[in-house]
Assembly symmetry: C2
């Protein structure tokens, strides 16, 4: 069985091992091929007659898939699978999997890190202090940006799946109220500090808006001039 990894470098720049996958067949790992849908011929050629293709962000379009004659399985080495034409895969009987949980904690943590950067600009303050701006300041306290306290503010989360819930949990621990939009509502998650709302209400009431939804046609451009 032939196995091709189309863009292995993103997942494994050298600190991981492919041995676990190599056990199952003849493995070829490309660091990267192309992230451009238009390069579907090049992408199809790299997969060739392999049964198994792994992709992280390399697009696998319907046309590319038509040229992968032996393809039986596409493993997405990430959570978002918008890079694979899943309708075409279904028609052809090609199984597609993604990894929905590998980054739950780290994505939630990173979303909060981005927010706290806007609230505190820690790196910029550190640079300023190293330049001597605090030492030359007559006051005991020093800051050069307004600081934002999150407690009591409202975070609107669009997409309240695993990652959205992780970000929401941290936000609530920071004293924020969370309002969330999701197609699937789990009443067990609601509390004094977490409520599901409709999108209009989320836009009206949120101090901070976080997007934790996949890129679907229905979510494309969800933040726009009208809203």
């Amino acid at each position: 069985m032939k196995i091709v990894v189309l863009d292995g470098y993103t997942l494994n720049p050298g600190d991981l091992s492919w041995d676990g996958i190599e056990k199952f067949g003849e493995l070829t790992v490309y660091d990267r091929v192309s992230y451009d849908e238009k390069d579907e011929d090049i992408i199809a050629k790299k997969v060739g007659d392999a049964e198994i293709a792994f992709t992280n962000k390399t697009p696998v379009t319907r046309r590319a898939m038509e040229k992968m004659h032996n393809l039986r399985y596409i493993g997405v080495l990430a959570t978002g699978y918008n890079i694979v034409d899943v309708a075409a895969a279904k028609e052809k009987g090609v199984v597609v999997t993604n990894i929905p949980t590998y980054g739950t904690d780290s994505v939630g943590q990173f979303a909060i890190a981005l927010l706290l950067e806007m609230c505190h600009h820690v790196g910029a303050h550190s640079d300023s202090v190293i330049r001597g701006d605090w030492a030359s300041n007559p006051d005991w306290c020093y800051w050069n940006y307004p600081l934002i306290e999150l407690s009591g503010k409202t975070m609107g989360i669009i997409g309240y799946g695993r990652i959205g819930q992780t970000t929401g949990r941290i936000a609530q621990a920071l004293g924020m109220k969370v309002i969330a939009v999701d197609t699937y509502k789990n009443p067990a998650l609601e509390s004094d500090t977490m409520k599901y709302v409709e999108l209009d209400e989320l836009f009206a009431k949120s101090d901070v808006i976080v997007l934790h939804c996949p890129l679907f046609e229905s979510t494309k451009g969800i933040i726009n001039k009208e809203n």
Copy 2:
């Protein structure tokens, strides 16, 4: 009644009002006087014959207090009151108050912001991306520092009062285990993800150590070469 604010600028650089205090007597607000204990004569002179003195970070030593003949009350405009010789104040019948809760949420939030800066260097990544380092990178993902995931790691918190608990709550929401040292232990706070320990165990087991204790003789130099 005469009221003196020794270092008003730190609390109120111009965006707040002193009217609430002015109602009670003849108010003098100094932006700053001195943050040096050795300037006790200068500090005492500014208080003069006032009954009420407010300080944020201006030290009020025993010797300074001896020259404040009418002093009846010292209001610390902050949480930490190590700048006031409270033993001397007690002997003289001078009431001292601090404000234990004004910054609970914001200090906890800021402690986590400092930690996330070390984990993600968001500002530095932003600068790097603006310089074009991502655009000129062949891969879809880009970072130039190793990123640190906090989930599963252990945070040791020295001083588990209101602020320590706030930081601890956020850390647990980030998926961390919390171990804490405090003289006063509240068993109701303990859970699968939060335990009180002794200082030695905290030093041995923590991936991250956070100090949320006041500066007492007993806490001075608590982090040292031997530990």
